[in-house]
């Protein structure tokens, strides 16, 4: 039985060729390196930060709004905290929160999509119409509305993002599930009397993961950006969390007197989102057979 399963599993990985293509595309490769750097920073932020005490509670008001210097590379904020340390730590918050948002979106989207694709009929219809409703207004708007009403906090912001994002994954999984449910190994599983739930979660879902993960990595940049946007509107992370969007929001009051306060967190957002988007762009190029060989 197990051997049959392995034999019938679709082979979608050609990592070696893909990695080669990735190496060939310099910009994409650079972005990959940058993302690895981001992850490293995120993990070791408190160790890397020159002023780890400034990350959360600690304030230092007598040194407020100092311009960049050897001591404070990116200057200090309105409570005298080191902006560089806070930006480093912000990497962890942005990456973790975005990861949680994507994970949550998958958690909602994948089972619903699999159910819709596998069952078909009215269940499929209802789930897909609900998806249509969610997809037919801008995800940022939906996230704003949900976060506004749920009360401003980082947790609610990422729930809001997940709620506005899940239909994308549901759609992908549904498409996969429709093609999978007539495959031999699923039929076999049905034939030996496995329950529907078991079939969906043991056979359909695992085999849908690859395209979903690819899609998620394509979305990651936009999710970081959406999270920062929510925080900028005051609907995401709350002070004193060193979230990038929130830092820019706070800096609005001071930016004419302290340019560094707005500029550096923005660069951080931009670079992170750019790296993920470039990777996405590169992946698309690699996976698109029409452009691959040229």
């Amino acid at each position: 039985m197990n051997r049959l399963k392995t034999a019938l599993k679709p082979r979608i990985h050609k990592w070696r060729t893909n990695f080669y293509l990735l190496r060939k595309n310099k910009l994409t490769f650079l972005s990959l390196l940058f993302i690895i750097l981001l992850v490293v920073v995120a993990i070791f932020a408190p160790l890397l930060a020159p002023h780890p005490e400034h990350i959360m509670e600690m304030t230092n008001p007598s040194e407020k709004l100092l311009p960049p210097s050897g001591e404070y590379w990116f200057g200090t904020d309105e409570l005298g905290r080191d902006i560089f340390s806070r930006i480093l730590y912000g990497t962890r918050i942005s990456l973790l929160a975005s990861l949680a948002a994507v994970g949550l979106a998958m958690l909602i989207g994948i089972p619903l999509g699999a159910l819709a694709g596998y069952k078909g009929g009215w269940i499929d219809n209802v789930i897909m119409r609900i998806c249509d409703i969610f997809l037919s207004f801008p995800s940022l708007l939906l996230a704003i509305v949900i976060a506004a009403f749920a009360g401003p906090s980082l947790k609610n912001a990422l729930i809001a993002i997940a709620i506005s994002w899940w239909p994308w994954y549901a759609r992908i999984v549904r498409g996969q599930a429709i093609s999978l449910k007539e495959r031999q190994f699923v039929r076999a599983s049905r034939a030996i009397g496995n329950t529907q739930g078991k079939i969906i979660f043991q056979h359909i879902v695992p085999n849908c993961m690859a395209p979903v993960i690819v899609q998620a990595s394509l979305d990651f940049g936009s999710i970081i950006l959406t999270l920062a946007s929510l925080s900028f509107l005051g609907l995401g992370a709350q002070a004193p969390t060193p979230e990038w969007g929130l830092m820019i929001n706070t800096s609005k009051t001071y930016f004419l007197n302290a340019w560094w306060y707005s500029v550096f967190p923005g660069i951080a957002i931009f670079l992170a989102v750019l790296a993920f988007n470039l990777i996405g762009d590169g992946l698309r190029e690699i996976m698109d057979p029409r452009t691959r060989n040229r």
Binding site: L27, S136, F149, I248, K252, L256, F270, V273
Partner: protein
């Protein structure tokens, strides 16, 4: 075809009903107290109770939803909790400035984006292409609210060239005899030949407009490039090439024309995106439009206002989506 359009419109209606239901339910499950908002935080308990009565908050939620839907069909979206004025009136007042921004930003994006797309496609894998692609990916990666602050810092803080915000300077507002024909300030100025106000309005418009145009510019450039590349690979183009027709002519005359379909789709969709982006940008520029209106409403938990703007944007988005679909459907090359 007819069936397709009817189906599409019906779906649109379903979507809008869904939007109403979702936002409505969301507004009623939160622990906020609209009656308290209505009367202000120093109000007495009796005043709050009276407000609950007045706003119909003591009725069951399904009844409230029914009332809301009924009112909505009659063009009534309720009253703003903060200003106590009809939400519809306020949306209508705030709409023209926002549309002005969105339209001009989109036009800018189309022109710049298509030019960039053609440039990158015709120089594929040369430095122009890399730079252009970097720009188009970069422009969709920029946090718009940050760009807004950056432009203010540069053009107001450092160069002192452009105003930091607002739609008109006070002088122009008071003594410029600001025309009011369509609500689109620039257009009105041109229609009435009022060039001093036109200049003033334009100088206020430039920064927010550029900020909003960045995203669609990247999208259009990207789409134009990939559509062009695909078309340039088609047999008829290859045939044209083999006939010895100049590359430029092929590019501009044959290829670009055929790449317009996907570009139009991207443009319609990005109009919706730009509309939402105004929510982030307008308040930074103190631009008196829907974006500032909703960010105020969000800060004050003014839920009828939030619902009104959400509904309105969803409407606009659904209609734009529909148009995009229909345009694609009308394209003879696409079969449904």
């Amino acid at each position: 075809m007819k069936n397709f359009i009817i189906k599409r419109i019906l779906l649109g209606v379903v979507v809008l009903l869904g939007v109403v239901a979702i936002t409505f339910v969301v507004t009623r499950v939160i622990p906020s107290n609209p009656a308290l908002q209505w009367v202000g935080s120093r109000a007495t308990a009796e005043q709050i109770a009276a407000a609950e009565e007045e706003l119909g908050l003591n009725k069951p939620i399904p009844v409230q939803l029914g009332i809301y839907l009924n009112d909505m069909l009659h063009g009534d979206l309720g009253y703003s909790l903060k200003s106590h004025r009809p939400v519809v009136d306020e949306i209508m007042e705030n709409l023209p400035p926002t549309l002005e921004l969105v339209l001009l930003g989109t036009i800018f994006a189309i022109v710049a984006g298509m030019a960039l797309g053609v440039l990158t496609a015709s120089h594929k894998n040369k430095w122009q292409d890399h730079l252009g692609r970097f720009f188009s990916v970069g422009s969709v990666s920029l946090p718009t609210f940050w760009v807004a602050l950056l432009l203010q810092l540069l053009f107001y803080g450092v160069l002192k060239l452009l105003p930091i915000g607002g739609r008109l300077s006070m002088d122009a507002q008071l003594f410029g005899q600001v025309p009011d024909v369509t609500g689109f300030l620039l257009l009105d100025c041109l229609l009435t030949g009022n060039f001093s106000v036109f200049g003033d309005a334009l100088s206020h418009l430039i920064l927010p407009c550029i900020t909003l145009a960045l995203y669609p510019t990247g999208m259009v450039a990207r789409m134009t490039r990939s559509a062009l590349l695909e078309i340039l690979n088609e047999d008829y183009i290859k045939a044209a090439q083999s006939y010895g027709i100049k590359r430029k002519i092929i590019l501009w005359k044959y290829a670009l024309k055929n790449s317009l379909g996907p570009t139009v789709t991207v443009v319609t969709l990005s109009v919706g995106y730009t509309l939402v982006n105004t929510f982030l940008v307008e308040s930074v520029f103190n631009w008196p439009g829907l974006g500032s209106y909703i960010s105020d409403a969000v800060m004050n938990m003014d839920y009828p206002a939030i619902m009104g703007v959400t509904l309105f944007s969803a409407c606009a988005y659904v209609v734009l989506n529909m148009i995009a679909d229909i345009v694609v459907a009308l394209d003879p090359r696409v079969r449904i």
